[in-house]
Amino acid sequence: MHAPMSDVQSPISGRVIALHVKPGDSIQAGDALCTLESMKMEIPIEAEAGGIVAEWLVDVGADVAEGEAVARLRTG
């Protein structure tokens, strides 16, 4: 039986400049998962729901598009 997974999508495009959690970490809604540089600002991407970080789909330095999945969470 696999736990349900959900992808965290980036609401903005930008470059990943920091990851704040690692696979296995338990997170809650509102926690900052990573920070993007976008429009010269440092903008955290926050979890919309709680869960456990399963994996990162991007690394520091990656350019992500609006709506692109950046992390996978176990939500079960």
């Binding site: 495009s13 429009m39 010269k40 600002m41 440092e42 903008i43 955290p44 598009a65």
Partner: protein, 515 residues
């Protein structure tokens, strides 16, 4: 027929109409997480206030003696009711009768509902749970010819948008005209998982090669992110609560004024917290909703459109009891830069304020329009100039508080450029035609390139320019009227709201409202 028989027939016909699609169809509807239309109306309006219009409409079948043997009720239920003791018109589709298809409404019920709201000058709430307007392909055989599409209700829909609050809830799979009626509103809500909205549903879309489930094609996760629908609710009762709250800020029609709240005119939050809320690091973000909630009357901020046009948090609120429209930059989305959707949302909100006489509070942190290839491809400037034009056209009293950035053409749209507006800046404010980053290289290109050490020259010029960027220099030159202690902002807003209140004038605005 005796008088008793006549009354008995009235009772009998009323009972038949109240059955809706019958127990089996109603149960299936409930099993899908949805309420029957009559329960929806009861849950939405003040208890016992619903007065139905057209309660006997439907299609009867008669035997050879002319006696009624079967009856299919109209699948459109409407009437007058009250919400918070103020009159409204409610119109709801009954999905349990012929899937809510609008040719099952019987006669002109939908049009009369819209006209009634217009002529009584009261809000209309549409509980939409039906499909298109032109009937099904079956109609071709029934009529013996094909219909040229015409949406007869649309002139009434258009007129109502200029006259009375129009609220629509998407409560099932709504397609075609149903989808259009939801989108053509001042405020719309979908229910997560149990409602979908599309031009055409999955079976039709499959013929263009896309095999998708209902929620994949038109769930609330799509339409509350693209702005077709304003908000999503977790359940139907939550959606009804949002309707009641939205209407509480508005007049019953443009011929009245937004009602002042009698209670809860205070905000106990320590206003001094605002002095530290803007980070010293200019690249860092902050939570704008907390600022709004500190400035307006406690608990009065009703956000609209949270999931789309995200560089601005917008909604209704009260200041000293007076309803106002709030537009507040959210730096979490491209630093507060206006992208296409944000521009569209601001346009929509400013028009809402104009139509219903709501003074506007604008909290500004706008680094400009969003820049770069994606923004250009998205056509940011078309939507951007529409927002600018809405701001130039509005005659509503306006108060701007510049909390951080105001740059470029979008920054200039922080208020109407040439009428009196209230305007304050916090000490954290910074503004200009172009940001120094990027703008400096353009303006001083020759000087930098000619220098023996271009990098050092660039740094020297930046230091020179930055020394002039204090907002106090601008205040000295009366470029901005006042820089205030953030903790004094709410007091200034209370003054604004009370001075603005008598300036509000009931009546139709010179231009209508394009949804």
């Amino acid at each position: 027929m005796s008088r008793d028989d006549e009354l008995n027939e009235l009772r009998h016909r009323t009972e038949l109409a109240q059955r809706m699609g019958g127990p089996e169809k109603i149960q299936r509807h409930r099993d899908n997480g949805r309420l029957p239309v009559r329960e929806r109306i009861d849950a939405l309006v003040d208890g016992g206030s619903f007065v139905e219009v057209g309660a006997l409409a439907g299609s009867g079948r008669y035997d050879q003696h002319g006696s009624l043997v079967d009856f299919t009720p109209s699948n459109l239920v409407f009437g007058r009711a009250a919400i918070e003791r103020r009159p409204v018109v409610v119109v709801g589709d009954d999905f349990t009768v012929r899937g809510g298809a609008s040719d099952g409404a019987v006669g002109d019920k939908m049009i009369i509902a819209e006209k009634m709201a217009h002529d009584l000058r009261v809000p209309i709430v549409r509980l939409v749970d039906g499909t298109g307007g032109g009937g099904s392909v079956k109609t071709i055989e029934q009529k013996g010819y094909t219909l040229l599409p015409k949406v007869r209700v649309w002139p009434d829909v258009t007129r109502n948008l200029a006259t009375v609050p129009v609220v629509s809830l998407g409560l099932g799979s709504v397609a075609g005209l149903g989808a259009a009626r939801v989108a053509a509103s001042h405020y719309s809500v979908m229910v997560k998982e149990t409602s979908q909205l599309f031009v055409a549903g999955p079976p039709v879309v499959e013929r263009v090669g896309q095999t998708l489930g209902k929620n994949e094609l038109g769930g609330s996760q799509i339409h509350t992110r693209n702005g077709v629908v304003d908000d999503e609710a977790a359940s139907e009762p939550e959606a009804f609560e949002r309707v009641r709250r939205f209407l509480s800020y508005l007049p019953s029609s443009v011929h009245g004024l937004p009602p002042r709240a009698d209670a809860n005119r205070d905000n106990p939050v320590d206003q001094a917290t605002l002095r530290r809320v803007i980070p010293e690091n200019p690249r860092a973000v902050y939570k704008v909703r907390g600022i709004v909630e500190t400035l307006v009357d406690a608990g009065s901020f009703f956000e609209i459109g949270r999931q789309w046009g995200k560089a601005s948090a917008t909604g209704l609120a009260r200041i000293d009891g007076w309803p106002v429209l709030v537009v507040a930059s959210d730096p979490y989305h491209y630093g507060g830069a206006w992208d296409r959707q944000t521009s569209e949302k601001i346009n929509r909100m400013v028009d809402l304020a104009q139509v219903f006489h709501l003074p506007v509070l604008h909290l500004v942190d706008i680094p400009g329009f969003r820049i770069g290839l994606e923004a250009e491809v998205d056509g940011v400037m078309r939507a951007g100039v529409r927002a600018l034009t809405a701001i130039s056209q509005t005659t509503m009293p306006w108060c701007t508080v510049i909390v951080r950035k105001a740059f470029g053409v979008a920054g200039a749209a922080h208020q109407h450029p040439d009428r009196f507006s209230f305007r304050y800046a916090w000490p954290s404010a910074v503004w200009g035609s172009l940001p120094i980053e990027g703008g400096l290289e353009v303006a001083y290109k020759a000087e930098i390139e000619a220098a023996p050490d271009p990098a050092a020259q660039r740094t020297a010029i930046e230091a020179r320019v930055r020394a002039l960027c204090s907002p106090y220099r601008s205040a000295e030159a009366f470029v901005v009227e006042d820089i205030i202690d953030p903790a004094q902002t709410r007091a200034r807003l209370i003054e604004f709201a009370n001075l603005a209140a008598p300036l509000r004038q009931p009546g139709l605005t010179a231009f209508g409202f394009r949804p």
